[in-house]
């Protein structure tokens, strides 16, 4: 198999941004995700946001871990360098990259497995450092790529394709971010472009770590055993590997609702989640009360969406490290090597 790329045809009538680029210039390779996967909607939102912001594509660096979600940087901004790292370790790569070159825009894409299980420590420490990047968790409650095990964000009571029921309370990325000192904490839904695109734009502009937890349904592994629609159910004495052999073609789920309002969304398996958009008078500046309020809503099984906490003045990693404004990669040999003349003084202490 070889990489597929979409034909890039220049339509003369296409809308152009401030750089004279069209939306097409922000696209990437053809997605290989399942039809209807929420992650593809997020990809579209990223493309839209970058296009609208008129970011120079090659001045963006895309970083990700491993998972269906982490594949998506291949599907947007094909003129940007990308780094598909190992599972759960994208934050470290982003930290080193950013340390070396603070002038690029960093877009990190991760999954709930990638960020909340194997990568939880790195995710938290990147927030503690207030690393200047946009960090998206494409949160579907499962490990998509390894075929549907529960992730740490799976809700209590959710059912896996194999029939197990999750009884463990979830780790919520938003509450986690609030505890870790995250300076831009948001939640949204993959199908809510109205909300998501502006959040991505705001996150890209935030000087520091901008987390957006995007609920993003997995169309394939929310299929559960006792659903009458389930194909798996009908198989009895059968090879487990074959259970996921058929993927029902599905459409992406869209959502459109107002600030302050709640909206329940039916997922592909028939289960429901309720989103509530933070009201106009919601105060995103107090970490403690934000936590209390979001937790309250979660207790009522509502996901509060929107920009839930923001702190624009917190110093980012470079401010904390007093790094030069000029990117480190731009310093030349003469700026860096002290030369032979400096040696005697250095070596004096060793006499």
């Amino acid at each position: 198999m070889s990489y597929m790329s979409k034909p890039r045809i220049a339509h003369p009538g296409l809308k152009k941004n401030a750089l004279g680029l069209t939306r097409r210039d922000y696209e990437g390779g053809m997605s290989t995700l399942c039809a209807g996967c929420g992650h593809d909607s997020i990809t579209a939102a990223i493309i839209q946001a970058c296009f609208e912001l008129a970011i120079e594509p090659h001045r963006v660096a895309k970083v990700s871990g491993i998972g269906c979600s982490s594949k998506t940087p291949a599907y947007f901004l094909s003129a940007s360098h990308g780094f598909n790292s190992v599972h759960g370790r994208m934050p470290a790569v982003a930290t080193g990259a950013n340390a070396a070159n603070r002038d690029l825009s960093y877009i990190g894409v991760s999954g709930d497995g990638d960020s909340l299980s194997i990568g939880l420590g790195q995710f938290c420490h990147a927030m503690r450092r207030n690393l200047d990047m946009l960090y998206l968790i494409e949160n579907n409650g499962v490990y998509g790529l390894t075929k549907g095990q529960f992730s740490a964000s799976a809700d209590v009571g959710s059912k896996a394709k194999r029939g197990e029921i999750n009884e463990q309370p979830p780790i919520d990325p938003v509450l986690t971010a609030l505890a870790m000192g995250g300076t831009f904490v948001a939640r949204s839904f993959s199908g809510d472009k109205e909300q998501l695109v502006p959040l991505i734009k705001a996150g890209l502009k935030h000087k520091g770590f901008a987390l957006i937890d995007v609920l993003s349904p997995c169309v394939t592994f929310n299929d559960h055993e006792d659903s009458t629609k389930s194909y798996a159910y009908t198989r009895q004495h059968y090879h487990p590997a074959l259970e996921t052999d058929f993927v029902r073609p599905a459409e992406e789920i869209m959502a459109d609702y107002d600030a302050g309002a709640a909206m329940s969304i039916e997922l592909h398996d028939g289960s429901m989640i309720v989103l509530r958009k933070a009201a106009q008078d919601y105060d995103p500046q107090n970490r403690g009360t934000a936590f209390a309020y979001i937790k309250d809503k979660l207790r009522d099984s509502e996901f509060l969406t929107g920009l839930l906490y923001v702190e624009e003045t917190a110093p980012d990693m470079h401010v904390l490290s007093h790094t030069a404004d000029r990117p480190l990669v731009d310093f030349g040999w003469e700026d860096l090597c002290p030369g032979s003349s400096a040696l005697p003084e250095i070596l004096k202490r060793y006499r």
């Binding site: 360098h81 370790r89 470290a92 480190l328 990669v329």
Partner: protein, 606 residues
């Protein structure tokens, strides 16, 4: 008590100091060693300290050697036994004819005597309690006082000591005075009570001019500074910690803009080793020179990412300051036990270049070389130092720097290159040396590609195709062949005899060289090679081919270097005879001598 036999030994003996850690003894012992060094006499110091912070036994061994031998010799000529808890063992460690000094403020057990050792008691605590106030000063000055006594016994130059104290306490002249007072107290006590000097003593020479006493970690850090490194990421671990400490303070001095306070470097204390290597790879991908210092457990934790670096071809430098394994092992003891772990680090088919410094000078030089190799070869490079090199003070010639040298960034495409290029294929072997061209992020849209640890083809695109995959991994093997030509060549010392040789690596060097001298004195002349890098250059193969039998000296249990040699050359293993030392103390010349003599005899008998 019969007179212990003792011959006059000038500038050729070993002093061992047994202390309790956290009492300030390290400073005193270092003062002692530096004084001898400043008197122009070659000296080396080895610190055997516990893996805790305060209250446990700690030893410092100073070898004074007019011939410039730097290894442990197996002898202890003077023991300063300050730790009651280890007194019995310390006494028994003294070589026949030696001297033991102890604090006679409190009586020692009657059983603890040896007829063949001169035992000198000095009431150190008593003296200090009489002359100094405060518990802190009293504890500290006890140590300085025994240095004073040794100054008398060994005939050290008090002026030199005074000068050293003045430099050390430049900002606190009062402290310098107090220290000098303690020196005099010890000095005078010794002169008053013992025959001074001993038959073992120091005489000024002129053999240390243009030399320094430096530890390998500081030297490596200096190499990083000079190599133009801008990003360091690490997680603290003994015995590598002082490498980053030194780099940080060098950077603070040389890379901080005096006016703006802006740093031309960025050091990140990572949350763990997995993150540290991830940061290094991220920075390397961006085009910065980046490194991480660590030790064995860190290498294990980094393995997944190191395999990524190999397959995605990202420059990175990893300093592994080896300590005793397996597992947590003995964190404050030395071994060369990560050779195989480093060479084949990570799952799947992987091989990594390794540099093996033998002393601080090479730590400096190889640090610089490592970054050139990393960028040249676009792959993680290991520098395998060890605790002995990294944390002990070695006498080295003043480090040199050639201002004509420029860094080798390897095959990096510039903006213009990319602009002109028809297309950019990240993993294509354009030059037949297995090394592809790379592009840096942010430079030009045409350079964009998706770096990944999953299957990719020569163009840099995702693949699961059997042939495309094989094309890439076969090229990686070609690149490794190229590496063998680029890494430092081994050091060869030929002697008369051509059939039998010794081969060693890293910090074994000093002990092997001394053993070869001693063997030579017995008429046994052997050739010697020290490998400086993996992959092995053709010279290593030639050397092995040239000899019928080769003793392979290394400091681990499993003969890891020997394994690597037979894996990666075409030598018949039957002719490689292991000499292994792995108890955590630096290898001594005595054990090598013995093993070679034994081996030669066995060979002769067979």
């Amino acid at each position: 008590m019969p007179e212990p036999q003792s011959a006059e030994r000038i500038n050729d003996f070993v002093i061992k100091l047994a202390n309790v850690n956290g009492t300030g003894s390290a400073s005193a012992n270092s003062l002692l060693m530096k004084s001898i060094f400043r008197m122009g006499v070659p000296v080396v110091g080895k610190n055997f300290f516990p893996s805790n912070i305060q209250g446990l036994p700690t030893w410092y061994e100073i070898r004074v050697s007019r011939d410039g031998h730097i290894a442990r010799s197996g002898r202890v000529d003077i023991m300063v036994a300050m730790n009651a808890e280890t007194y019995r063992q310390d006494l028994s460690d003294v070589s026949p004819g030696g001297v033991l000094i102890y604090d006679s403020t409190w009586p020692r057990s009657h059983e603890l005597v040896r007829e063949d050792v001169t035992i000198l008691g000095i009431p150190l605590a008593k003296i200090c309690n009489e002359h100094f106030d405060g518990i802190r000063a009293r504890i500290l000055m006890k140590n300085v006082t025994y240095v004073g006594a040794l100054a008398a016994l060994l005939e050290l130059d008090l002026e030199v000591i005074k000068q050293l104290l003045g430099e050390t306490f430049a900002r606190k002249p009062k402290l310098a005075d107090a220290n000098m007072q303690a020196i005099h107290l010890g000095y005078d006590y010794a002169r008053d009570h013992f025959e001074c000097p001993l038959s073992l003593r120091v005489e000024s020479m002129d053999l240390t001019r243009d030399h320094i006493m430096i530890d390998g970690n500081s030297a490596a850090a200096l190499g990083c500074l000079y190599a133009g490194v801008t990003v360091g990421a690490w997680y603290p671990i003994t015995p590598s910690t002082s490498l980053m400490d030194a780099f940080r303070s060098l950077c603070a001095q040389h890379r901080t803009d005096a006016e703006t306070g802006e740093n031309r470097y960025c050091i990140v204390q990572a949350e763990d080793e997995l993150a540290a290597i991830g940061m290094v790879l991220g920075a390397g991908w961006m085009g910065a020179r980046a490194f991480t210092p660590t030790s064995g457990p860190g290498i294990s934790l980094m393995s997944e990412f190191i395999g990524f670096g190999y397959f995605a071809e990202i420059p990175a430098v990893i300093f592994d300051v080896q300590r005793v394994g397996p597992s947590t092992g003995m964190p404050t003891r030395t071994q060369q036990c990560d050779i195989l772990s480093a060479a084949y680090c990570s799952h799947g088919d992987t091989r990594h270049p390794i540099l093996f410094p033998a002393d601080p000078t090479e730590c400096f030089e190889m640090a610089v070389a490592a970054f050139d190799l990393a960028e040249r070869l676009q792959t993680p490079i290991f520098v395998l130092s060890d605790l002995d090199i990294g944390m002990n003070d070695w006498m080295c010639p003043l480090l040199q720097w050639d201002d004509d040298y420029r860094w080798d960034r390897g095959k990096v495409l510039s903006e213009t290159d990319l602009e002109k290029a028809e297309h950019f294929w990240r993993y294509y072997d354009h030059d037949g040396d297995g090394i592809p061209y790379r592009s840096l992020p942010g430079v030009h849209p045409k350079g964009a590609y998706f770096t990944r640890g999953s299957g990719h083809n020569a163009e840099g695109r995702y693949t699961e195709d059997a042939d495309e995959y094989r094309e890439v991994v076969d090229r990686l093997n070609r690149k490794f062949e190229t590496a063998a030509e680029l890494v430092p060549a081994p050091v060869v010392v030929n002697s008369a005899r051509g059939d039998i040789a010794v081969l060693s690596v890293g910090s074994c060097d000093g002990a092997v060289r001394e053993a070869l001298v001693l063997l030579g004195e017995q008429g046994v002349k052997l050739n010697y090679m020290r490998v400086k890098a993996f992959p092995f250059s053709g010279k290593v193969q030639d050397f092995l081919d040239r000899h019928e039998r080769v003793f392979v000296v290394e400091q681990n249990r499993d003969g890891q270097l020997r394994k690597l040699l037979i894996n990666e050359t075409t030598t018949d293993p039957a002719k490689l005879v292991s000499i292994l030392h792995y108890d955590g103390l630096p290898i001594g010349s005595d054990c090598i001598l013995e093993a070679i003599l034994g081996g030669l005899e066995k060979g002769a008998a067979a």
